[in-house]
Every structure is written in structure tokens, then in C-alpha cells.
């Protein structure tokens, strides 16, 4: 299949305007004759569902949560980017575009990224109008901060709870449409399959998590806004329920999966404390604006710190290595996430890590505390410091934080064209669920921007183009494809319950996470990846013969839910490994040890790998087929990223 990204003709800055004019419109009186299913009610889903309902479409919105307000988006801390240039510091749409393409290590589509930067300004206006309480200056205008390696202040924020406030804004818009009867909300309903009729997406199969009832739902188009798959690593900063099932089911029905190996490891997370650890907690990137990252200069000193013989605050300046400031004088502690993470790992690999496990580096606030006082620091970061203390029982005002990289975000996802349509006609993907605009590495504060851009300002236009060409006939679930998909879901549930093995879904998930982290994590090499592939295949066999699920399918059964999600993670894990093996270069979050510069930085191969890898499912136990979407760069020059 030839991949058509449907990028509009014309100069970069005019593409979106032109495209909006060229897409077909659905007549206002006809909009109510179309049903659209939106799966997921995080930022990307709530914004899409509300906006489509406002236009007049009948929307059915699904979430496995008990309320849309609980989606993982709620946890985003740091902020959202927009090229407003309110600070008069040289920002522009082109600069945000440029930073995003460069930050993504030149593996994103120029046209999409430019559109993202263009609509970013409208997002802020929209959220303000909804009553989102962004941080403000004394004069009453909106405040900004610089974030995630940007050299301009373009990040809007609501203290450390930006995701919460943005999601509650989108949730309020969605709630309003529920009240108007334009959105029907299905909570605690998990999509377990996609229904295809004549090659088009026409509905979904869900399981109600409280009653266990399996239902089918029909629509003229389906939008997946089901988030990322970072939990394939078991431990990540994602919420516990985040999973790949919706996207993976769609993949098996024909939606290509793009760049699955592009995962982001965030440098500032609270380190693992024990085997019981169930998730990792992010310490917002904004802390790197004022915190200084260091490890002891020598392994001997590090050893003494690990044993508790020396306190970090007592180590002399001359015995510390502020390694980011030393290696990257221009950006210092603000280098992009992939660079910061890799360097922390390197320090620990050298034996200079701290904490009882040796898998941590320090993030030190002593200097800023001295400069502006503990009170000032508390105003900036109070909630983060309190959270750190709650979890670790250590006071970061007195003792540097211990941090270590953790899986945080997935740049890969369902392949979509410029219209956000997958390779299945009528199936769209938005937010973290698609392979999106971040290339091989996402910049801080850009995921919230992308989710809301997709939902508020892109999909409402582009979905019309498809619907206008679809007859406005009522849809129902009479077609045999619905009964067939439903039977498939029920059979799988039965199968999971029938195995009655000896290992719990959590045990399998941890085993998978271990393989992924060791061999497909911060650094990868061909040998390790080949080993991982065999291990995952073995794990998959064991899962289907030895997993243990108690209870029945006709009740709230969290072990059953978990088992289904882990089964899909195992399959996705293998594809991630395949993708990492096929990409013989290093770029962004994908660091292949064989491909690095003499200084140990990622070495891209633009000649051979400036493409999007879009994987096509070929059937059970068949190797997937790699399709390539070549990337062309007309507006930025490909350079070796340098933050020195």
C-alpha cells in the first residue's frame, strides 16, 4: 500500500488555510444525520467530542474511566506551549515550528508541525474563554515560563496543574454538550474492538466494566483519542490504566502503526524504591530551570554517598560534577529530555550514581534557595516539593532531590495523514494515540498543545471531508460484522478466564516491562534487541498458557481487564523491538549504541532513515510489513542537533 500523507500543495504557511478551504463541508442541516464515535475523553477526546457536537454532529463518547475528568491528561504538570510571543522575546509560529522539528530530530512531517504551531495560539484563547485559570502577572495578563529546552518563554501554565486545568476546561465543554443531548457519554466502557463494514470503520465493541456487558455501537466515523502506550514498560509516569488496547485492536484491523520504538524517557522522575513499585512519579521539567544536576566526581565518593557515610549537602563543590553544565555549556541543565536522560544513565553506568540503588543523580536547589529564599522557591515549586517529600520522606529544601529517568511519553502511535485519518477510511486518531508531530523526541509542553490542537481545531474540519462523501443514512448494528466482532471479544474473555494458570497479569506485565526497559529502553543495540524479541515471544506463549484470572466476565473484574491489556502490550512490545531493529541509526529518543558520534551523541542517518516507519499487520504470528513514508524537508535544514 502506498502511503499518501495528503499534505496540501503550496507554501508551508498557506497549506492549512488552503486546505480548510478545499475540504468538503457538510451542510449544516445534514450534520445531525451523522453519528461520530469518539473513544477517549482526555484532552484530545473531550475537545474533539465537544467541538464536533457544537457543530451539530451526534457524538457518542466512550471512556473506561468513571468520569472524563479522570483521564491521564489530568496529571500533566508543567504547561502548554503557544507561539503567542506575549513576552516579546522573539517567538513566532515559525520558531515554534522550527524548534519542534529540530527537537524531534527531524523525524516529523513539516506540514503537520507548522499547522500545530499555527493553531497553538487559538488554543490559549479558547481555554481562557472557558475559564481556565492560567497563571497571570500582576497586571492581569497571562504569564509564561520557558520550558523543556526552549530559549523563549512560550509556556502557559496553571501552577503545577496545567493538565488538570486544561482537562477540566475541555470536560466542562463536553459536559455542556451532554446536557444539550448532543453527546451521549458512555463511562466505564472499554473499547475492545473496532468494527469494519466494507473496508470502513463503522463502529466499536465495548465491555461495560461494572456489569461486564459486551455491547456494539455504530457510527459513520470513529475517532480514537485513547492516549499513549508508555505502560508497555510496566513502570512509567503514566497513570496505571493507560494502555494500548484500542490502538492495537485498530492496528490488527488494518490501521498502520508508526514509529512504535520512539518512546520518550523523561530525565526528572523520582527513582524506583523497591520491587513493589507500581508506578513512577514525574518531577516537572520546570525544576530544571532552577535545579542543578550533578553526581560526585569520583566513584569512590559516590560509593560513600550510597552507603550513607556522606550527605550530599556536605560534599564540597570541587568534588561535584555538574555534568550537563560541563558538557553542554550553551544549554546546561536545560538540554532536551533525551540528552539529559542519556547522560544521567551514563553517570550511573560509570558508577557515579547515588541513592541506595546507585540509580539516581542529584537535582540540587541550594543555589536558588540561597538566591531567592525558601519562601520564593516554595511559591514556584511548593506542590512539587511537597509531593517529593510525601513519596521519599526527604526534604528537598535541605537535601538535593534524587532523580532518575523514566518512561514518560510515546511519540509513536497510529499512522495518520494530514487529516488525522488512519489507513482505515473513517478511522481517525488524535492526541498521544497518533504518531503525531513530535518526530523522534517530544519537546516539553507540546503534548497538551497537540492534543488540544487535534481536538479543537483540526478534526472538526477534516472529518467533514470524509463525512461529506458518506451518505447520511442512519447507521445501526445489524450488519453481521458487529455480531462477529462481538463474538470475538466474548471468546477472548472466555479464553482468558479459562486458562486458570499460575502467574498473575501483573507478573507478566512486570516481566515484559523488564525486557523492554533493559533492551528497548534508553539505549539499544542489535544483539540485545534480537534477544528481547525471543524473550517476548516466549513470554507471550507462557501468558496464553499460564495466566491466572479469578472471577467471571459478568462483573467488575479488574484482573480480567488487566489481563486483556497485558496481552496487547506483549504483542506491541514485539513490534517496538522490530522497529528499533529496523532503524539503523540513532535519533531523538531512539539511541542505538552502534550509531553514535565520537562524543557519544546520537548519530542520525538522513540518507537512509529520514522516513516514518509505518507497520502493517499481516495476521497472527506473521512478521509485520514495513511501509515507509519518506520525509522531505523544504523549510528547515537538517543539521546534527547540538546543544553545546
Amino acid at each position: 500500500m502506498l502511503l499518501d500523507s495528503k499534505i496540501p500543495e503550496g507554501p508551508l504557511a498557506e497549506k492549512w488555510e488552503k486546505h480548510k478551504f478545499n475540504v468538503k463541508l457538510v451542510n449544516p442541516a445534514n450534520k445531525r444525520k451523522y453519528d461520530v464515535i469518539v473513544v477517549g475523553t482526555g484532552l484530545a477526546g473531550s475537545s474533539a467530542a465537544a467541538s464536533l457536537a457544537e457543530l451539530g454532529y451526534n457524538v457518542k463518547a466512550f471512556t473506561y474511566h468513571d468520569s472524563p475528568r479522570r483521564a491521564h491528561s489530568i496529571a500533566a504538570q508543567g504547561g502548554i506551549n503557544a507561539a503567542k510571543n506575549y513576552q516579546n522575546d522573539g517567538d513566532s509560529i515559525f520558531r515554534l515550528f522550527y524548534d519542534t522539528v529540530k527537537g524531534g530530530d527531524y523525524r516529523a512531517r513539516e506540514a503537520n508541525v507548522y499547522r500545530l504551531a499555527q493553531v497553538s495560539v487559538s488554543i490559549i484563547d479558547q481555554c481562557v474563554a472557558q475559564g481556565v485559570p492560567f497563571a497571570r502577572e500582576y497586571g492581569g495578563l497571562l504569564a509564561n515560563r520557558s520550558f523543556g529546552g526552549a530559549q523563549v518563554s512560550r509556556t502557559f501554565y496553571a501552577r503545577g496543574q496545567t493538565g488538570q486545568q486544561l482537562l477540566l476546561g475541555a470536560y466542562s465543554a463536553l459536559s455542556r454538550q451532554v446536557a444539550y443531548g448532543k453527546v451521549k457519554l458512555y463511562t466505564r466502557s472499554e473499547m475492545l474492538d473496532l468494527v469494519m463494514v466494507d473496508g470502513q470503520a463503522r463502529g466499536i465493541v465495548t465491555r461495560h466494566l461494572i456489569t461486564g456487558e459486551v455491547e456494539t455501537h455504530a457510527a459513520h466515523a470513529v475517532v480514537l483519542a485513547t492516549g499513549g502506550y508508555g505502560n508497555v514498560f510496566y513502570l512509567s509516569t503514566n497513570a496505571k490504566y493507560c494502555n494500548t488496547t484500542a490502538a492495537w485492536r485498530a492496528h490488527k484491523k488494518g490501521a498502520f502503526f508508526a514509529n512504535p520504538c520512539f518512546t520518550q524517557i523523561h530525565p526528572t522522575c523520582i527513582p524506583v524504591s523497591g520491587d513493589y513499585q507500581s508506578k513512577l512519579t514525574l518531577m516537572s521539567e520546570s525544576l530544571r530551570n532552577d535545579g542543578r544536576v550533578w553526581v560526585p566526581k569520583t566513584t569512590e565518593m559516590a560509593e560513600r554517598v550510597r552507603k550513607g557515610e556522606v550527605k550530599p549537602q556536605d560534599i564540597a563543590e570541587t568534588d561535584r560534577d555538574y555534568f550537563l553544565e560541563r558538557k553542554y555549556p550553551a544549554f546546561g541543565n536545560l538540554v532536551p529530555r533525551d540528552v539529559a536522560s542519556r547522560n544521567a544513565k551514563q553517570m550511573c553506568d560509570e558508577g557515579r550514581g547515588v541513592g541506595s540503588t546507585g540509580l539516581a543523580v542529584y537535582l540540587d536547589f541550594a543555589e536558588i534557595i540561597q538566591r531567592i529564599g525558601a519562601e520564593g522557591v516554595s511559591q514556584k515549586y511548593g506542590n512539587l516539593f511537597a509531593m517529593y517529600e510525601k513519596i521519599t520522606d526527604e526534604n528537598p529544601y535541605e537535601r538535593p532531590m534524587r532523580i532518575y529517568p523514566a518512561v514518560h511519553y510515546t511519540m509513536g502511535g497510529l499512522w495518520v495523514d494530514y487529516n488525522l485519518q488512519t489507513t482505515i477510511p473513517g478511522l481517525y486518531a488524535t492526541g498521544e494515540c497518533n504518531f503525531s508531530d513530535h518526530g523522534a523526541n517530544r519537546l516539553g509542553a507540546s503534548a497538551l498543545m497537540q492534543g488540544l490542537a487535534d481536538g479543537y481545531f483540526v478534526i472538526p474540519y477534516t472529518i467533514g471531508d470524509y463525512l461529506a462523501a458518506t451518505a447520511p443514512k442512519p447507521v445501526d448494528t445489524q450488519h453481521p460484522a458487529f455480531a462477529e466482532a462481538k463474538a470475538g471479544v466474548e471468546a477472548r474473555t472466555e479464553q482468558l478466564l479459562a486458562i486458570k494458570g499460575t502467574r498473575t497479569p501483573d507478573q507478566f506485565h512486570k516481566a515484559l516491562g523488564h525486557i523492554m526497559w533493559e533492551y528497548c529502553g534508553m539505549a539499544r543495540n542489535a544483539e540485545g534487541l534480537q534477544f528481547a524479541k525471543k524473550e517476548i515471544q516466549r513470554l507471550r506463549k507462557e501468558f496464553w498458557s499460564d495466566v491466572r484470572v479469578a472471577g467471571t466476565g459478568e462483573e467488575l473484574n479488574q484482573t480480567l481487564e488487566k489481563a486483556g491489556r497485558v496481552a496487547d502490550f506483549i504483542e506491541l512490545g514485539e513490534l517496538m523491538v522490530d522497529d528499533a531493529l529496523a532503524r539503523n541509526e540513532s535519533c531523538g529518543g531512539h539511541f542505538r549504541e552502534e550509531y553514535q558520534t565520537p562524543e557519544g551523541e546520537a548519530l542520525r542517518d538522513d540518507e537512509n532513515y529520514a522516513y516514518v516507519a509505518a507497520w502493517e499487520y499481516q495476521g497472527e504470528n506473521q512478521p509485520e510489513k514495513l511501509n515507509k513514508e519518506e520525509l522531505t524537508f523544504e523549510n528547515v535544514k537538517l543539521t546534527q542537533r547540538s546543544y553545546k
Binding site: G140, R176, D393
Partner: protein
């Protein structure tokens, strides 16, 4: 593997847990023992240990709601030793750590108890009443697009900050569970104050408060008798001042209601 405190000693605990198969079947307390619990664990990680044990023993694990485990999504909702989210002030269940307990302790774990929050199973309750209250008016009626520039409306910083404080409610329901009347006033007041304080919320100020209060009553939440256990037990510190604002808003809306016609 030890965490920040290598000297922390593992604990053995007795748990009294509410078990209830579904909404229509009666429930009861059941006793379980858990061993070798690290003080570094979170409360939910301790329950994970219990559930893995139960599953290995062939018993149905205890159902409970959780997701972010960072104190922000509002999913977790346990009533621990007679208190919403347990003994630590300003803390959700997921952020509560076992170092707050001692070896040999008996811990009682129940679901939120309120007529408006029926039990789904074990410790999981149905809080969709909160969604319906927001649907009754917890929004500003703007469509996507066509709104003014974000900086066109200047909002004094102290007003913006107060609105933000109110807006940080996580919708967990601890306030309802802590209240002897099972009132939802703190939850409703947080949203009403946020939008009443901001210029964007002013046009719909009266109808909003009336409709949200009406829905709250319809859902079967109790009346507020000004005791303040809601704010005392709120994990994110939503202030009682919001209830005062809500009362003021409601009285003035009633006195000058747009709904009279």
C-alpha cells in the same frame, strides 16, 4: 532493595476490608493479613500485595478505584480507619505511605458511604452524580472558535489565584464521605466560586448556581450544617470560604433570579 531509608523495617498488618459483590447484594467486613509490608510502599501498593496474594490463593481480589497514583485524578477513594483518605492531612489515598502505620496495626478499609454514591463492588463506588452536577451548569457557554484573544481580558492576579485554588478540586468525593449529612456542598461550591470569581463566568452566574444546586438536591446529597469536616478532610485543601461564596451566590441568584419569568 531498599529505598531512601535502608533501615525501615517491614511490617505485618491486619486489614478489615469491606467486601460487596455488587450494588444489589449486601456486603460485609472481611479480615486479611498482609506480611512484610515495606514502610516505603504507598497504601495502594500495600493493597496490590494483598490482591496478588488473594489471586494466587484463588480468591477474587479486592476491587478499588485508582489510576494516576499521584493525587490528581481523584479516582482513589478509600475510607481508612474512619477517615476519608486515611490519617494524613492533605493527602489522597494513593499518596499515603505505609510509614504512617506501625507493625501490628489493624487497618479498617471501607468505601465512601453516601446514598448518592452507590457501591459498584467492594471499595469502588459510583460517583457519576458529580458529573451530572457539572452538566447542570459547571461551565462557561462558549463554543470552539470565535473567542477573543487570551490577553483581551485582564484578570487581577489575586482573583485569578483564588479562582485557581477553587479549580484544583479533584472530584474525589472525600468531602461527601467525611460529612455526616453526605453533603456535596464543598464540591459544588468549588466550581461555583471558580466561575463566579472570573469575568468569563459572570453572564451565567445566576442560572449556574441555581441549576447546580437543584441537581445536587436531586442526586440525594444531604444538606450542609456548617461543621466543616469536608474542608478538614479535603486532600487538596479546598477552602470552606467557597461554601460562603456559594451561599452568597445562591441567595442573590434567588433574590434576582433570571428564572422567575
Amino acid at each position: 532493595m531498599a529505598g531512601s531509608n535502608p533501615n525501615a523495617k517491614p511490617m505485618n498488618l491486619t486489614l478489615n476490608v469491606w467486601r460487596q459483590p455488587n450494588r444489589s447484594t449486601e456486603g460485609k467486613m472481611v479480615e486479611y493479613k498482609v506480611k512484610d509490608i515495606s514502610p516505603e510502599m504507598s497504601f495502594l501498593e500495600m493493597l496490590d500485595v494483598l490482591n496478588e496474594d488473594l489471586l494466587h490463593a484463588g480468591t477474587d481480589p479486592v476491587a478499588f478505584d485508582h489510576d494516576c497514583r499521584e493525587g490528581i485524578c481523584g479516582s482513589c477513594d478509600l475510607f481508612i480507619n474512619g477517615r476519608s483518605h486515611g490519617p494524613e492531612k492533605g493527602t489522597t489515598t494513593c499518596q499515603l505511605h505505609m510509614r504512617k502505620f506501625s507493625d501490628g496495626d489493624t487497618i479498617t478499609i471501607e468505601p465512601w458511604r453516601a446514598n448518592a454514591f452507590p457501591v459498584n463492588k467492594d471499595l469502588s463506588v459510583d460517583r457519576s452524580a458529580f458529573d451530572r452536577i457539572i452538566q447542570a451548569g459547571g461551565y462557561v457557554s462558549v463554543n470552539t472558535g470565535g473567542v477573543p484573544d487570551g490577553n483581551e481580558i485582564a484578570i487581577p492576579k489575586d482573583i485569578a489565584d483564588r479562582a485557581f485554588e477553587a479549580a484544583t478540586c479533584i472530584g474525589c468525593g472525600a468531602c461527601v464521605a467525611a460529612c455526616k449529612n453526605a453533603s456535596a456542598m464543598l464540591f459544588v461550591s468549588a466550581k461555583v466560586s471558580q466561575l463566579a470569581l472570573l469575568p468569563q463566568g459572570k453572564p451565567e452566574r445566576k442560572t449556574r448556581v441555581e441549576n447546580m444546586i437543584e441537581q445536587m438536591d436531586k442526586e440525594g446529597f444531604g444538606a450542609c450544617s456548617n461543621i466543616g469536616s469536608c474542608a478538614a478532610e479535603c486532600p487538596v485543601g479546598i477552602s470552606l470560604e467557597n461554601i460562603a461564596i456559594l451561599n452568597r451566590e445562591y441567595i442573590s441568584a434567588k433574590a434576582t433570579s433570571n428564572n422567575l419569568a
